[in-house]
Symmetry: C2
Subunit: 253 residues, 2 copies
Amino acid sequence: MAASCRLKPLSRVAVSGGTHGNEMSGIYLAKHWLRDPMELRRGSFAVTPFLGNPRAIEKCERYVGQDLNHTFTTELLSSAEAEDEPYEVGRAREINQTYGPKGSAQAFDFMFDLHNTTANMGACLIVDSEESLLPMHMCHYIQTHYKWSPCRIYLYKLPGEETYSIDSVAKAGLALELGPQPQRVVRADLFAQMRALMACALDFIELFNKGTVFPAFEIEAYKITGRMDYPRYPNGEISAMVHPKLQVGVGWE
Amino acid sequence: MAASCRLKPLSRVAVSGGTHGNEMSGIYLAKHWLRDPMELRRGSFAVTPFLGNPRAIEKCERYVGQDLNHTFTTELLSSAEAEDEPYEVGRAREINQTYGPKGSAQAFDFMFDLHNTTANMGACLIVDSEESLLPMHMCHYIQTHYKWSPCRIYLYKLPGEETYSIDSVAKAGLALELGPQPQRVVRADLFAQMRALMACALDFIELFNKGTVFPAFEIEAYKITGRMDYPRYPNGEISAMVHPKLQVGVGWE
């Protein structure tokens, strides 16, 4: 990063677990924190955990009507309520009202969003783009201080694209993606890793609020350069699978 | 086992992949064999692969209306067709017509049933009870010849209980359960393991048909002795998870 970090202290931080209702680490963590928020407390700011998609969590499905995490566009957030709209469109408006409105001065300072993947990729920190200075400094801090698995950084936003994810409602945000974990399954090791990552991220905010200077740094991050489909049979079915060496060898064991 | 194995040679063997529509190893294997059955061929008997629950496979769900693998009771198989019956009840009748009828002299000699689990348990061979002589000898042969992971044996039928699984339609049967694999995901290593287990089982049938004598043996098998729920919060939600040492350590690594 070319510039050091000079931004206002953060006062209100939100954490969504269960933005996808079958990704259990964040659901279990958010429910734990809703029962006992002690470990989220830091001196200089307040952390509010919440359940992103309660109806999908109840059904233990990714979503009910449409993917909540693609529903936070200005167009959908400002659309008029309709009887036949997917549940998630209404839920996105509620979240926008509570933690936003998106793009406004009233919005929360930061939002974390907790995800799992079945892919054997360890911990992945997802930020919209390298222009998001505070989240990039947070990533750097986590990479330096968190030792359980590598934390790769993924910048998801394509040039010119609008942000659409749940954390885009706040002024800044970060998504954690941990794998491998089957959908609907809780692995204690990934639960503990996500908890440790969150503690590390909150420690960073505390240090930042207290005036710690974070100097400029260089960092490696991943971006989409293109998409490649699986090979397929003439009837459209996938004819290949990921090689076991890529599936089992995770690069740091 | 107290007795050596003296039974008639087998001539017709069936293999179901996708009895549960989101357990991908067997689905991929059965589809592969339907395209190219060469590797199933042995000299002395015929092997017929089929898709257990095609509608669930299409949706990539465990089942559509009810669990197909609990639908092969005499009561359901002999029930009159009803408009509002679950899809799987009709599908069970079709399978019973093709590979049964259950308990009749016309039934197939043997049926394999291919499953996955998210549990980190390696390979598990599931037989109804230790009274099923041929499947128990097959288990013993597989345990002796298959080296990729331990093969534990699980005897599922409780005393006095009727068989209800898909392979109970044939005169004898065996289910393979391989894990860990997320639902809806194909892992190449588990795919290869299931393929090798099936090859080993078919080799056993070939040897048996050709008159090989399999002497009596002792073998370790698991049975249900009781069920224990997870600890729960007052609202009914699970308050515990499997310890990481049980989840990660699989006992043979």
